[in-house]
């Protein structure tokens, strides 16, 4: 499966008749299942806008987002439902993405029901339990009845991932999905993501400002600045010999842990 951004541009109307803001400027990007693609950039680079365009949450002003050659803006009915199932989102703030008044079971079950993946209660429950076990919330029974405030930050992020993988997607678009987590929890969630990549053949479009994490887990890297993709290439090439001055600046600024004392 191929999710492709073709010369996509997004401009927002300026405030009080000011000139329009070009959040994403003629971006090209390719993501496939099984591949860990990262988009790195700082705040204001347009990376989150691009993520929302990939998810079909906001339309492109010009250019297109295509799934296997079909423009998502032109999809209808079953085709659109299929796209919605195969491209899933995991966003930054797990507390804000989960309804505080719904249990873990309900949060995931309603997705299953919505997509019509199982009809009866037993079938739905089985899928929910499966998904929870898959993301390491085990035994699942211990988590089914919990509310978001009864979970740690890492567990909430895992519930969000479970809610995505229960649909058996091909690609997950993750916007700053681990940025707010402590190192140990972050390592755990990243481990889970790479395990799912290996076991399920999942692909990721991983949006972040955290370069060390990208170096650790990504296969292919896009660097964004001021709405434009200024450089892209295989991870090893980007980190070994960055070509664009902005990429070089980013690499120089990333924190270094000095254990030598």
């Amino acid at each position: 499966m191929l999710l492709e951004v073709k010369q996509a541009t997004k401009s927002f109307r300026g405030r009080r008749g000011g000139k329009p803001v070009l959040a994403v400027d003629r971006a090209d990007l390719r993501a496939t299942d099984g591949d860990f693609v990262a988009i790195v950039g700082e705040s204001g680079s347009g990376k989150s806008t691009l993520a929302r365009m990939l998810l079909g949450l906001i339309p492109a002003t010009s250019g297109a987002i295509e799934l296997d050659g079909v423009d998502i803006a032109r999809m209808h009915g079953a085709q659109r439902a299929g796209y919605r199932r195969r491209v899933q989102a995991v966003l930054q703030d797990p507390a804000g993405s989960l309804n505080p008044r719904k249990t873990v079971r309900r949060s995931i079950a309603e997705i299953v029901r919505l997509h019509g993946l199982a009809r009866d209660r037993a079938g739905i429950d089985e899928m929910v339990v499966d998904a929870l076990e898959m993301v390491g919330l085990s035994p699942a029974e211990a988590f089914l009845g919990r509310y978001p405030n009864e979970l740690s930050g890492g567990q909430r992020q895992r519930v969000l991932i479970a809610r995505a993988v229960v649909l058996r997607p091909k690609i997950i678009v993750a916007d700053e999905a681990v940025s707010a987590l402590d190192a140990s929890v972050k390592a755990g969630v990243l481990r889970l993501m790479t395990d799912l990549q290996r076991d399920l053949g999942l692909g990721y479009v991983f949006i972040t400002h955290d370069l060390p994490v990208v170096k650790k887990v990504a296969d292919y890297v896009y660097v964004m600045q001021g709405g434009r993709i200024v450089e892209h290439g295989p991870k090893d090439r980007i980190f070994a010999s960055p070509e664009h001055p902005y990429t070089q600046t980013l690499l120089a600024a990333s924190p270094v842990l000095d254990l030598a004392g």
């Binding site: 700082e42 705040s43 930050g153 402590d182 190192a183 140990s184 929890v185 972050k186 390592a187 755990g188 990243l190 481990r191 790479t194 400002h209 955290d210 370069l211 060390p212 994490v213 170096k215 650790k216 600046t249 980013l250 600024a253 990333s254 924190p255 270094v256 842990l257 000095d258 254990l259 030598a260 004392g261």
Partner: protein, 302 residues
């Protein structure tokens, strides 16, 4: 330093002993946010506190700054001494003195700290002791410059929302130093910032405390940030200090199993040779039961 009292001069600037803090979390529930914390900050010294969320590091910082919630159900026991003078159980006035003169605090999110309807210049000015004087205007500009801002006259006229995240954080640094405190407590000062901005703000903070000779407590979950900026390091878990010592020593030879595990997980995120490592739940259970009672605190620190 205006104080000539010999006893005060020999006492460390700050000595916290066996601090414990219970906070109300609901109508009837209480949480032991801090169980046992002892730490010392000498004049001009930079001290780091690292810990994960829930370790009690921020509550400790707020207690020292006199910024715990004003709620009769908040229980603080143990000792917090500035220049040898006990402040646990001290009068509201003594704490007001701490807040307005002794300790400047820098938070993670400048927007909740800054007043959105007030120009930057006035907010810095309000922190200056004797703010009514004529020289205060010059002092505002001086503080903004010290905090690494340029075009300070223009910045002083702006409102918080008109500044970038990095500039706002520098404004907080300016406000913190405006009161000429003896101690600056920076709680996750750069966590919300981009890496390039983070580096610049840390460098500014570093230079500012060096120039003014101010002591610093840097609180963060990010070992890389704390390691590069501090002389001594306290590692907290579950409301306790589990390890303390010179920063370089703790980083190179961590003694407590928790510090070792934390370092391993941090390293695993940046080192291609180390497999991604998350502290296992069973290990945390062990910590909860007995691990945190074991502490490795270098002799002479307490």
């Amino acid at each position: 330093m205006t104080r000539n009292d010999a006893a005060a001069a020999s006492a460390p600037l700050l000595r916290v002993e066996d601090l414990a803090i219970r906070l109300p979390t609901g109508r009837h529930d209480m949480v032991d946010a801090v169980r046992s914390v002892s730490l010392t900050v000498r004049r001009g010294e930079r001290v780091g506190i690292v810990g994960e969320s829930g370790s009690g590091k921020s509550v400790t910082g707020r207690a020292i700054a006199g910024l715990l919630p004003e709620n009769p159900r908040v229980r603080v026991t143990g000792s917090i001494r500035f220049d040898g003078v006990e402040h646990v159980g001290a009068s509201a006035r003594a704490w007001q003195e701490v807040r307005s003169r002794k300790v400047g605090m820098i938070f993670q999110d400048p927007l909740t700290f800054l007043n959105p309807t007030m120009r930057i210049g006035r907010q810095v000015r309000e922190a200056i002791p004797g703010a009514r004087s004529r020289s205060a205007e010059q002092e505002v500009l001086r503080c903004l410059t010290l905090a690494g801002l340029t075009d300070v006259e223009e910045v002083a006229q702006r409102f918080p929302h008109e500044l970038s995240g990095g500039m706002r954080q520098r404004v907080l640094v300016a406000i913190a130093i405006a009161k000429r405190p003896e101690l600056i407590i920076a709680d996750e000062p750069t966590t919300a910032l981009d890496a390039t901005v983070q580096q610049r703000v840390l460098r500014t903070l570093d230079q500012t405390v060096a120039t003014l000779g101010t002591s610093l407590i840097l609180i963060s979950h990010d070992l890389a940030v704390v390691a590069g900026m501090t002389d001594r390091l306290y590692v907290m878990w579950g409301g306790r200090v589990v390890e303390a010592g010179p920063t370089a020593e703790v980083m190179a030879h961590p003694k407590h199993p928790y510090t070792q595990a934390l370092l391993r997980s941090v390293l695993s995120l940046v080192d291609d040779e180390v497999e991604l490592y998350s502290i296992p739940p069973a290990f945390r259970d062990w910590l909860r039961v007995e691990g945190a009672d074991v502490s490795f605190v270098e002799e002479g620190v307490r």
